[in-house]
Amino acid sequence: MKKLLYIASIAIFFSCETTIFPELNEAEEILVIDAWLNNNLETQEIKITRSQPYFDSTLPAKVSGATVVVEDMNTGETYNFVEGEDSYTWTPGTTPLGVIDNIYRLTVTVDGETFEAYSDLGAVPPIDSIKFSWNEEDAFITQDYYTAEFVSTDLIGEGNTYWIKSYKNGVFLSKPDEINIAYDAGFSAGGAVDGQVFIQPIQDGANPFDEDPENDGEFLPPYVIGDSVYVEIHSINLFAFNFLQEVAIQTNRPGGFSELFATPLANVSTNFSSTTENSPTNIGGFFNIASISSRGGRLSQELADMAREAEQ
């Protein structure tokens, strides 16, 4: 898509952009709970902050004094998170937090008001392999280049949702346009791709397409020999899928000609709600608990040669 828009921009190279500093309405500074847990045997972290005025570019400060509890609704077991320097954490002993198919509730009490959110813990399919392909140079990448993809098959049963996080050389692909989510093996519900291999654009999500800072309009090769790729599939609940989709829409603003296709600004959803009936308090953030499968690979000379031969 990015390439397409670039093509379009050849015809319309007259657009221009200016950074402006408009005066905004007063910030509401709502409570934000950032709680994405997993059932790995590692420290689990929940960040509780407040929203900031839009142009405030500092790190948001921790809200202190909150009570943070996760409860397994199937077993009744509770996990009390303790306040640390930047966040609230819980560290497992020998058993991780989370059993597949159980439902969890997170309750956060701040200034006397309690907010809660639920998440079930879904399963994830294994990643069968990481593949590298060789590509001939094209208009955007002006040298022969390698791309990576993961190969995995959606679990059988409609309505599995996943967040696929990719890392190149240990760096998380964290751009808004790199948010890679799947509904079964496709982009959305109703796609009828249950139990299939993930569709190609999702498998291709392991590739960073970064603009070449030295050559305007060109892109750097996603992978060169020696690079490593690491892919994780996180199980997410349906509301988290919708949330991430909204986040992608609201944060992925490459500007320029693509603004013609941009969606108007709107608030993203949250699965938190106040336990006080008809509470006027607005809240943001999300709670999800995931299981994770992962696989890594490195583009060795040998793999590169094989990829090149396969293509030629």
Binding site: K3, L4, I7, A8, A11, I12, F14, S15, C16, E17, T19, N25, A27, V32, D34, W36, P53, Y54, F55, D56, S57, T58, L59, A139, V171, L173, S174, K175, P176, E178, A185, G186, S188, A189, A192, V193, I199, Q200, P201, Q203, N242, V247, I249, T251, R253, G255, F257, E259, L260, F261, A262, P264, L265, A266, N267, S269, P280, N282, G284, G285
Partner: protein, 797 residues
């Protein structure tokens, strides 16, 4: 309902009975130079101080008692023809009018008879003839019909590059664009920079903004009726042009002189061809181009029958290599048959086919790819009748039956050789309409036009989705699905649409006009982008989505001054609409089987005042148009403020809520060789949404709007001046060479203003480092931020 229609027919039959012992003078009026039918030519009978005008096929009929009459045939820019005839039986009089040489030097900015402004019953109609469209300064020097009508009151766009146009606060999808009766779903090339209509093949353009006659229906805001040329039936003509973006060529001529003719016109952009020597970007099959082909032919079988066959085919192609890309285009074909049952009963039967589709392709080989296309196909049968009952009543009646086939997604993905079909089911619907309307002259001073349209819509066959209730703004839960047989009706809607207009002449130079119309729209253009784009989805009304309904009242004052040299009009309108379609935040509109669960419906209202002044004749001509307007929506689940529980929506301005919209178009004849023209646009800033806060979740910085407000700020005002100079007789037009030619030098955005298209808020496109603070900023985007000169050379021989 039936009784209402019967009642009208009965009252008409009384009128008919009183018209015994009369005869009809009828015929076709054509241009002597090329045989093109003249639309709206006046037939004036001195003895009765009245007459009629020709219809869109150039046909007229007047009913007179026996006697001798002086009839004057006139058409702007043509020499009047006076005929004295004895009426003692029905008279067929086909005429050809000659262009008036004396007027050729002047720019004539009206296609209609010069006092039509005041005398016609029509109001809320914007009409431009192709001659003045050709003289307007155009973006990239390319004459453009859609851009030209935006210079008229009540018509606007949300910005450069946006597809389509907005009429009186309506959305782009609420306009019905007809090319020789067939709907064109996407009127733009290269997103919104050019329109798909080739000016070389267009004869007449008429936009109904209100007071819409009963023969039209199916959209809420407007009907843009574009008529193609029939083709020169006298001699061969070649017209063409070489422009900055397009090259055009049109050939027209007789198949059999005065009986049958054809026109075929094509355009293609050539930015890619010009760029080829300078870049290797178009190797590997990459491409960026658009083209269209328009063709029409007609056969005059005999005095009573003639047929027309017209077609359009256009496509935009963006490919970044042989296999990957994006393209879209329309195809239409229409067959029309004019038949005279008698001198007084004119009929036209139209059969058309229209297809709009777009497609994406990704993937470098057959093992890994993703192909997707989406289309809407329409078939239509439309018989229409005009009964020239007498000089005071002209009855139109007819019907329409449309079959829609929606194919929202035909999508196949191949991953590692495993093919997956994620196509969505086809959806079908049938829309029908029956209408009757009458143009009635009650007296010299008072004319009425009234009618009724009965429209029905049936959503048929396939899977039925039943959704439950949800808090407004959330997806509705799916309760059950059921399968219906292929042609089994799922849901039917039926609506009665009354239409009414009047004209009251205050004196010979001024009149008051008023109108009311109700419209229903059964298919909806679902768009979640700032501007309409070619990939917006058409969605039928279903058991979950109700048809949109719109009502409009308009009142206007029309005045001509100085012997029709100046025209002036002022119109106020108020529109109230129900079941306007919106969507929940974050809705996924593409390849979504459960799209209906994400759609919301609400109310709309728009009101405003349109002022228009025009100078028709002289060396200096032009017009000034000003619109003061409001356009608002109220949808539960959107803009609900603090009402977190019920999320009851509050009124908010739409993206096309333009408070002030001023347009000036001016033409000046320096001498016979040189003409200067200019236009100026001023549009008050359009609404947009600004955030208040930012939330940080998983290292993404997400904007937040306190109170879920929508369109709470406005972007800066838009203004722009364009100029163009036309130089006639460059080479071909010089003595002895035959043919004519002219060069147009135009400058778009003369003072290079960076007009804002949008303001967006973002964390930038760099990859943030996890744990580091992330900067956010606001960016103002101008799609066209510089002076754009262009040259085009045009010829005809």
């Amino acid at each position: 309902m039936k009784s209402t229609i019967l009642g009208i027919l009965c009252s008409l039959s009384v009128l008919v009975c009183s018209a015994q012992d009369q005869f009809t003078v009828s015929g076709y009026i054509k241009d002597a130079a090329n045989g093109e039918a003249l639309i709206g030519a006046t037939v004036y009978i001195k003895e009765i101080q009245g007459g009629t005008v020709t219809n869109v096929y150039g046909y007229y009929a007047v009913t007179l008692p026996p006697g001798e009459y002086n009839i004057e045939y006139r058409y702007i820019g043509f020499t009047n023809v006076n005929q004295t005839i004895t009426v003692d039986q029905n008279v067929r009089l086909d005429l050809e009018l000659k262009a008036d040489n004396q007027q050729l030097e002047e720019v004539v900015v009206t296609a209609e008879a010069i006092d039509e402004n005041v005398r016609s019953i029509e109001m809320s109609v914007a009409e431009l003839d192709i001659k003045s469209i050709e003289k307007l300064p155009a973006f990239a020097g390319e004459v453009d019909i859609i851009k030209s009508i935006q210079l008229l009151p009540g018509v606007s766009t949300v910005g450069e590059g946006a597809s389509g146009f907005n009429v009186r606060g309506g959305s782009v999808g609420q306009n019905l664009v007809l090319l020789d009766e067939a709907p064109v779903y996407q009127s733009s090339h290269l997103f919104g920079f050019f329109s798909v209509f080739n000016p070389d093949a267009v004869k007449d353009v008429k936009l109904y903004k209100g007071g819409i006659p009963a023969r039209y229906g199916g959209r809420l805001s407007s009907i843009l009726d574009i008529r193609m040329k029939e083709g020169n039936s006298k001699e061969y003509d070649v017209t063409g042009g070489v422009g900055t973006v397009f090259s055009r060529l049109a050939i027209e001529g007789p198949i059999k002189k005065d009986k049958s003719s054809f026109i075929i016109a094509g355009r293609r952009s050539y930015a890619d061809i010009l760029a080829r020597p300078f870049t290797d970007i178009f190797e590997d099959g990459a491409g960026l181009y658009f083209y269209d082909l328009t063709a029409k032919t007609n056969f005059n079988i005999n005095d009573k029958n003639r047929i027309y066959l017209s077609g359009y085919f256009g496509r935009d192609v963006f490919k970044f290599d042989e296999r990957q890309g994006f393209d879209w285009g329309n195809q239409t074909a229409s067959f029309r048959w004019n038949h005279l049952f008698s001198e007084k009963l004119f009929s036209n039967t139209t059969l058309f086919y229209s297809n709009y589709d777009y497609g994406f392709s990704f993937g470098e080989n057959d093992m890994d790819k993703f192909d997707w296309n989406s289309r809407i196909i329409t078939y239509d049968f439309k018989p229409e009748f005009t009964w020239f009952i007498n000089n005071s009543n002209e009855l139109t009646f007819g019907g329409e039956a449309l079959l829609y086939r929606f194919k929202p997604a035909n999508a196949v993905g191949v991953s590692d050789g495993v093919s997956t079909d994620i196509s969505l089911d086809e959806r079908k619907a049938i829309e029908t309409a029956l209408y009757v309307g009458n143009d009635q002259k009650l007296s010299e001073k008072l004319s009425l036009q009234y009618g009724l349209r009965l429209s029905t819509f049936s959503y048929i066959g396939g899977t039925v989705y039943n959704y439950g209730e949800a808090t407004p703004g959330d997806d509705r839960p799916l309760i059950s699905t059921e399968e219906k047989k292929d042609w089994e009706t799922i849901k039917t809607y039926m609506n009665l649409e009354p239409r009414f207009s009047f004209r009251y002449s205050l004196n010979t130079t001024s009149s008051i006009k008023g109108s009311y119309n109700r419209m229903n729209q059964y298919i909806h253009l679902i768009s979640n982008t700032t501007a309409a784009t070619p990939i917006d989805v058409w969605q039928p009304s279903t058991n979950n989505i109700r048809p949109q309904q719109g009502n409009q009242v308009a009142l206007g004052y029309f005045k001509n001054l100085r012997g029709n040299k100046y025209e002036f009009s002022a119109e106020g309108y108020y529109k109230w609409n129900s079941d306007q379609v919106d969507y929940v935040d974050g809705a996924d509109l593409l390849i979504n089987e459960f799209l209906e669960a994400e759609l919301l419906s609400g109310d709309g209202r728009a009101y405003g005042l349109e002022l228009y002044a025009k100078k028709n004749a002289g060396r200096f001509t032009g017009w000034l148009s000003y619109t003061l307007g409001w356009a608002e929506l109220r949808v539960d689940g959107i803009n609900f403020g603090d009402d977190n529980v019920n999320r009851e929506g509050k009124w908010y301005p739409t993206r096309f809520d333009q408070r002030h919209n001023l347009k000036v178009a001016a033409f000046y004849d320096i001498n016979e060789k040189l003409q200067l023209s200019g236009n100026f646009s001023y549009i008050a800033g359009t609404p947009t949404t600004f955030p208040t806060d930012r939330l940080t979740v998983q290292d993404y910085v997400i904007p937040y709007i306190s109170g879920s407000e929508r369109n709470n700020f406005r972007i800066p005002d838009y203004h722009r001046l364009d100029l163009s100079l036309t130089i006639n007789d460059i080479w071909m037009g010089k003595k002895g060479r035959g043919g004519e030619d002219y060069l147009v030098i135009s400058i778009y955005n003369l003072y290079g203003r960076q007009n804002p298209f949008s303001i967006y808020f973002s964390q930038g496109t760099d990859r943030p480092i996890v744990g580091d603070p992330i900067a956010t900023s606001a960016t103002q985007l101008s799609i066209l931020g510089s002076v754009l000169p262009a040259v085009s050379y045009n010829f005809k021989f």
